[in-house]
């Protein structure tokens, strides 16, 4: 019977080596080592042997069974590895196919640049102060040192409403007066974002509404050197560290001295191009020391307090940064434009 067993084991091993798939392997295991498997059944027949042969048979039988189990496991691992390889080959994807699209919302480009501006100024202690769109002539002009028929009014074509003395703000500067009235005599350090309106034709270069961000700092010790240092720090954070800036004399009714700040052209690096009209510089913001009249109108004594103010156009900044040539894109809200931000 031991011989029989040895032969059976040889046969099983031979068959095992020929097996190439896990299903046949399971069948093999049932056939030989299952509850009713041939090896199992032969082991059960140990009682048919004479008593003295039983230990040797038992020992050998168990050895063979273990060997077969081990062989089975080895074969199983081999087959599994082969099958996996096969599956990998079959399941390979064209990884260049497009991914399943996710619907992603975007903030409008103006919101994105406004938030960036808020963030930079917040880190310098300037907080956001917002005011109304529909304003009085008094706040939009008179308190800002722009009396009726003043030449400076020509710089800003105004939308007037049917209510006498009420207009759409042409700049966010009326907020400066509101803020001063609220803060005086405390120091002020704010930025004033908001939508402004000008009576213009709508063209690629001009719009009837646009955002503006103004800034205002008032204190007992604020000087033009601070204005230059602070605004240059801002411009370099927005446009790039070490970007040269320049300040040149200008005019705004609510500041004196007034200046325009230019930043070296971000398109051509200062060599001169169409965008910078071959000057190498881009006009980024207007600024100046707060005019004594405006300080007075805001409740600050100009002999004690000084301050600086500035203003910039987020849409213009976005256009320069991204090479946009048509300002109408902003309120046109074409998704093919907006989804690029």
């Amino acid at each position: 019977m031991l011989n029989q067993l040895e032969q059976l084991a040889q046969k099983a091993l031979a068959e095992l080596n020929a097996i190439a798939d896990s299903k046949s392997l399971t069948g093999w295991h049932i056939q030989y080592l299952g509850k009713k498997g041939e090896i199992t059944l032969m082991l059960r027949r140990v009682g048919e042997l004479p008593r003295e042969e039983r230990p040797a048979f038992g020992k050998r039988a168990n050895e063979l069974k273990r060997e077969l189990e081990a062989a089975h496991d080895r074969r199983a691992a081999e087959i599994k590895a082969q099958e996996m390889e096969k599956a990998f080959a079959e399941n390979a994807l064209d990884v260049t196919l497009p991914g399943r699209p996710v619907r992603r919302g975007h903030l409008h480009p103006s919101t994105q640049v406004l938030r960036r501006i808020y963030q930079i100024w917040a880190e310098m202690g300037f907080q956001v102060y917002r005011a109304r769109d529909v304003e009085t002539d008094e706040y939009n002009f008179q308190l800002l040192n722009i009396p009726p028929h003043h030449p400076a009014r020509e710089m800003q074509d105004t939308f007037y409403t049917t209510t006498d003395g009420v207009l759409l703000r042409t700049h966010t500067s009326p907020g400066q007066i509101h803020a001063m009235h609220e803060y005086a005599p405390d120091p002020v350090r704010i930025i004033l974002p908001g939508m402004c309106y000008r009576h213009e034709q709508i063209t690629a270069r001009s719009e009837i509404q646009f955002h503006q961000v103004e800034g205002l700092a008032i204190g007992r010790n604020i000087r033009m050197t601070d204005l230059k240092g602070t605004l240059t720090a801002f411009a370099q954070r927005l446009f790039g560290e070490n970007k040269p800036t320049r300040f040149r004399a200008s005019y705004f009714p609510f500041t004196e001295p007034s200046a325009e700040m230019d930043v070296q052209c971000i398109i051509c690096g200062g060599k001169g191009c169409k965008t910078c009209k071959y000057t190498g510089w881009l006009e980024i913001l207007g600024c100046g020391m707060v005019h004594p009249t405006v300080l007075r109108n805001g409740g600050y004594d100009p002999e004690i307090y000084t301050g600086f103010a500035f203003g910039m156009g987020p849409e213009r900044i976005t256009m320069l940064k991204h090479g946009i040539e048509d300002i109408r894109y902003f309120w046109g809200n074409d998704l093919r434009f907006l989804r690029q931000f």
Binding site: P101, G125, D133, E135, T136, H149, H150, N221, D334
Partner: protein, 843 residues
Amino acid sequence: MKVPLSWLKDFVDIEMSVPELAEMMTMAGMEVTHIDYIGLPESDLPWDREKLVLGHILRVEQHPNADKLVLATVDIGADEPETVVTGAPNLFPYIGQGDISALGLKSPFVMEGATVYDGHAKVPGKKMKLKGRAIRGIMNRHMLCSEKELGISDEHEGIMLMESDAAPGTPLVDILGDAVLEFDVLPNIARTTSILGVAREIAALTGKKLRYPDFTIEPTGKPLADRLTIETTVPELNPRFVGVLIEGIEIKPSPYWMQLRLRLAGMRPINNIVDVSNYVMLEIGQPNHAFDWDVLQARAAEYSDDGKVRIITRLAEPGEKVRTLDDEVREMPPSAVMVTDPKSALSIAGIMGGMESEVQPTSKNILIESAAWNFINIRQTATALKLHSEAGYRFSRGVHPAQAMLGALRAAKLIHELAGGVISADMVDNYPLPPETITLEISTADVTRLLGIELDRDTIRGYLEGLEFVCEPVGDDGLRVTVPDHRLDISADPVIGRADLVEEIVRMYGYDKIPHTELTDALPPQRNNPKLEWEMTLQDLLVDVGMQEIITYRLTTPEAEARLIPNGEPLDDSQYVALVNPSTADRRVMRRSLLNSVLEIAAANSRFTDELALFEVSAVFLPTENDVLPIEQTRAAMVLSGPRAPHNWQDGDAAPADFFDMKGIIESVLDGLHLPEVSYRPVEHPTFYPGRVAEVVSGKTVLGVLGQLHPQVVAAYELPEDTAVLAADLNVETLISLASDSYRVAPVPRFPAVQQDIAVVVDESVTAAELEAVIRKAGGFLLADVRLFDIYRGEQIGAGKKSMAYNLWFQAPDKTLNDKVVAKQQNKIVKALEKQLGAKLRS
């Protein structure tokens, strides 16, 4: 303002290059926006020094074979003169006059091989290289040319005929090469609306001396005072009026140099009198006007016994009309100041002369008016008349009354030189309101306080004196500064005037030299800005769920907003913040509805995409009776339409979004804002599809509305009609007032939940909200969560009924629940549903 460099150099030496000059002007507040180079190497057409030279015309003969051509013999400094064929009509008068060299007719001479502009080309800027060719049988190698061919101006009527002291053969670029700098005149720098004014700035900036024009005259004529009186009835609007008479003049073209300068500065030469008037205005900034004295005298004969001319300046009478020299009859606004005689108006003060008394080609005697006007008044009148003249341009920016006398002197001098005649022995100078001389004090400390730099007194004094301020030391570090009489922009208020002076000081010092410092002043108390912060959170939450932010025009029309109501009528303009002066008809009121704005953008985009998921958070404007200013209310409007998920190659098209997609977005956003007790109530709203619209409520406060748009509204906006268009409109201010950042967070459960499912059959009228409320109440604290997972309608359960299936999760904080407890709790729920809502458990 256009400034020819050659003219500027009359008054100040300029050693720097043109780009350096432009840069210096730009930095000092005169932003040069354009430079036109004429003949110089930087020019589009540099003039060849060898081939473009000055020619002297010696003789003009008829071309033997052509009526309309002449042969001109020209000295170009060579051994032999050259002969050229030309058709220039302005040479015809000299045909056959023999040797005309004594006339001194000079003209640019262009030699074969030189490049000039093609005078006949339709496209401006087209160049041509001169090639010799036979013209009607005579070989021609060279040419005489026009200003257009040289790129000086558009003038192409004949060849240039000029005077010049330069020798024939001199390179033309040395005589006429020039650069014209154009810069923007800011309101505070009105003094630079003249060549002299610009020269003064350049002199101050470069430390050079300013040369003045010659104002000396020889008044050899008869006295004027007994022939002319001037009355100014409104001195505050007309503080000065100077009159000077030149008798016996001859009207003719002005000399070439003057014509050229006028053209370079952008004005058209007319005749010597008009040209002098314009020239003086451009040169020193004082506009002036020439009257035909004989016309004034003829009128005087009708109104005065002694024949004396009476000029009266006064405000316009109501409805007063005047025919201006451009031959238009204009009705005067009430602000207009008129120069009149007792008969009628002669001209609109400071803006435009009248037709009748204008200088004619036959005029013999000329009265020059050189006056001062109030700049605000002139601006008001010019704006009302929509009449923008060079004189008005300058007067509306402010010309100091002291300049009026200089204008009269300079005009009289130049007229005498160019038109002959004698200047009246005296001038009539009516000066009722001389401005006060402004004197200010400034110290080195004042400069440091504003600029942050230390300048010593002498430096400050140097800067101010360069600009003709008169300075006198006061105390240790102060100056008493007297403002020169060409400036109106320096305030007499001691504090404001000081700021005005500091601006001059820093312009001279150089903005670029001011160092950079960090703010060291006290930081103000920092405050929160909850409204802004919550608005940003709201935007972020909407973007998170795939919505695209848009920003729209806040101006619209009542008609556009009426589309929100089926068959809606536009609200009256009085319900809106309406514009008096809209720039386009479709933007004439401030919006009352944000949803209208968002729907317009949705419709525009629907032409190329069916995937619409848009929102805007922005203001609407609601007029109120209590205030002249409207309520500005922040709202959030959303539009959703098209497939629920983006198109892709794998899954086929997703189902179209419906009411519940929009609701899901709102739920997600309100959850993100941690709004308490949010619920949705059926509501009637004309904009929406009846039965598919809900009010969004938090506690008892209505936040807004959401739903599917009414088909008529969809059609009115031309939105896609084959799929549902969902929209929502919420009051952001209410939303923010209820939002909270101090909500409580529940602990993570330590014991497992037991899930059970139940399905109940109820009448269609029973709402999901009612069912869930009963389930939650009956389930008590052990019911951790409820979720509807299926709705079934069908024959099995009968008409008018629906089966609602829920997952229920039971959970206790302190132990694992056993089946018995769960069964008991579930039973309670079923009983409550049966009792309160007539539900039947579906087995």
